[in-house]
Amino acid sequence: METGEIRETIRSFIGGFIRARNFKDSDNIFEAGFINSLFVMQLILFVEKKFSLAVEDSDLNIANFSSVDALSSFVSGKLVNGSSRLH
């Protein structure tokens, strides 16, 4: 999947939960108070399913999930790496 497509897919999932019109790809969704703990689980499950990858314990770093930008580069990195396809 192209980087642009990855970003668009992520943006559309996260954007589906956020009403703020001026929500930007670089906005920190944790700091902006956009999300709750249920959403964190949904986000991780979404990423795993949509991109057929496994989020591992070592990936559970808030920096990987904090914004559309951060998540897009995390997913791109995992896909390039190809080391952790979902079993």
């Binding site: 009403r19 964190v40 499950l45 979404f46 399913k49 949509k50 314990d57 559970l60």
Partner: protein
């Protein structure tokens, strides 16, 4: 095969049911009365692969798929709610380690958990903290590369016999999960007896006074300790109790069908009285509806993706609620016999009440289901 709706091969299911009925169902009354499960039962469950249900094959487990886990919980719930709770908490901890544990934690703990050499308990609730899980008061401090844990956990299922505790504590203002061994100095286990239901669940209060654990005892990270690690474990717990409630509902229905055929009043079998038929019809419909919601939750889990969490919450809420009514009607149909220890329905009623309290009370599920519907910021 459609994983969510097709049962595993009938012969396999029958064999598993026969095993559970023989090893657990036949003795469930005695376990309840004595408030204890003999060690041999744990060994038998381990040999059958039940304790390794959530442990991947590479670590010696059976690595069952979501539907198979659900059916196992249904059969357990039908036989004994107390033993259902063993499978629930043991697999919750197995799941946490298999999914989010480090390589060292997986190698250290998964094989003995699958073999049943170590039983695991889930320690979240505290004397002053139940539903409001984010207020956990157990304190965890970093010290000399390890952690020091101080706090009290209450109502811990199989805490009396567990060798490993999955302890949720507050570390640096964030909730995180830690693996704490039973023989850790400072850890004291106090049995709790005479509960209303789940009387053979060998509950305990677990007190930790400055328990020192190694630096690699934390499961996952501090950032996602609560939302992801504890969250996914609780989600699995809800899923198990949802299916287990279906099993208990089925047991209530089976007992009621049998009894209402045998018992005669006013010159006719109870089953021929229309007001009894009404109760039986409601039992059948509610049990089927609950099972369908559980199957739906199984399908969502097998597919993965964000919908699986709410699927389990919906199934748990419905199954946990209908089973209370079913058990109450089962006792009603049995009359005075149903209130005596000669029939199992009195145990079913006591256990059914608990289904709506554990793994998130009915109110917590209602709140979660509604909040999910409004999930927009």
């Amino acid at each position: 095969m459609n994983v969510a709706t097709d049962n595993p091969p009938a012969a396999q299911r029958r064999r598993s049911r026969e095993f559970i009925d023989r090893v657990i169902g036949a003795h469930a009354e005695a376990f309840d009365l004595e408030q204890e499960v003999p060690r041999g039962v744990f060994d038998a469950l381990a040999r059958e692969g039940v304790l390794g249900a959530l442990v991947p094959a590479e670590y010696g487990g059976t690595g069952l798929d979501p539907l198979a886990v659900g059916l196992l919980c249904e059969d357990m719930g039908r036989a004994s709610a107390s033993l259902l709770s063993l499978i629930t908490v043991h697999t919750m901890v197995s799941l946490a380690i298999a999914r989010w544990g480090s390589a060292a934690q997986r190698t250290r703990w998964l094989p003995p958990l699958a073999r049943g050499e170590t039983l695991a308990a889930f320690a979240l609730t505290e004397p002053d903290v139940g539903s409001d899980v984010k207020s956990v008061a157990t304190r965890v401090e970093r010290k000399d590369g390890g952690f020091v844990i101080t706090g009290t956990k209450k109502w811990i299922s199989f805490g009396q016999v567990a060798g490993l505790f999955f302890v949720v504590g507050n570390c640096e203002g964030k909730l995180a999960a830690f693996l704490v061994e039973r023989d850790t100095p400072g850890l004291v286990v106090e049995p709790i007896a005479n509960m209303l239901g789940f009387r053979a669940a060998m509950l305990a209060e677990v007190r930790m006074n400055e328990c020192v654990v190694a630096g690699d005892s934390m499961v996952g990270s501090l950032d996602f300790g609560f939302s992801q690690i504890v969250g996914s474990v609780l989600d699995h717990g809800r899923y198990c109790i949802a299916w287990g409630s279906v099993g208990l509902a089925q047991a209530c229905l089976d007992a009621s069908l049998d009894y209402s055929e045998q018992r005669t009043q006013f010159g006719r079998a109870l089953k021929d009285h229309q007001l009894v038929q009404r109760m039986i019809a409601d039992m059948i419909v509610n049990t089927r509806a609950a099972r369908l919601l559980c199957q739906d939750a199984a399908r969502a889990r097998a597919e993965g993706g964000p919908d699986m969490i709410i699927g389990a919450a919906v199934a748990k809420y419905f199954s946990g609620t209908i089973v209370e009514k079913l058990a109450s009607d089962a006792v009603q149909i049995h009359g005075a016999n149903g209130c005596s220890s000669s029939y199992p329905v009195q145990r079913y009623l006591r256990d059914a009440k608990i289904m709506n309290i554990i793994e998130g009370s009915a109110q917590m599920q209602q709140m979660m289901i509604a909040q999910h519907a409004y999930q927009r910021w």
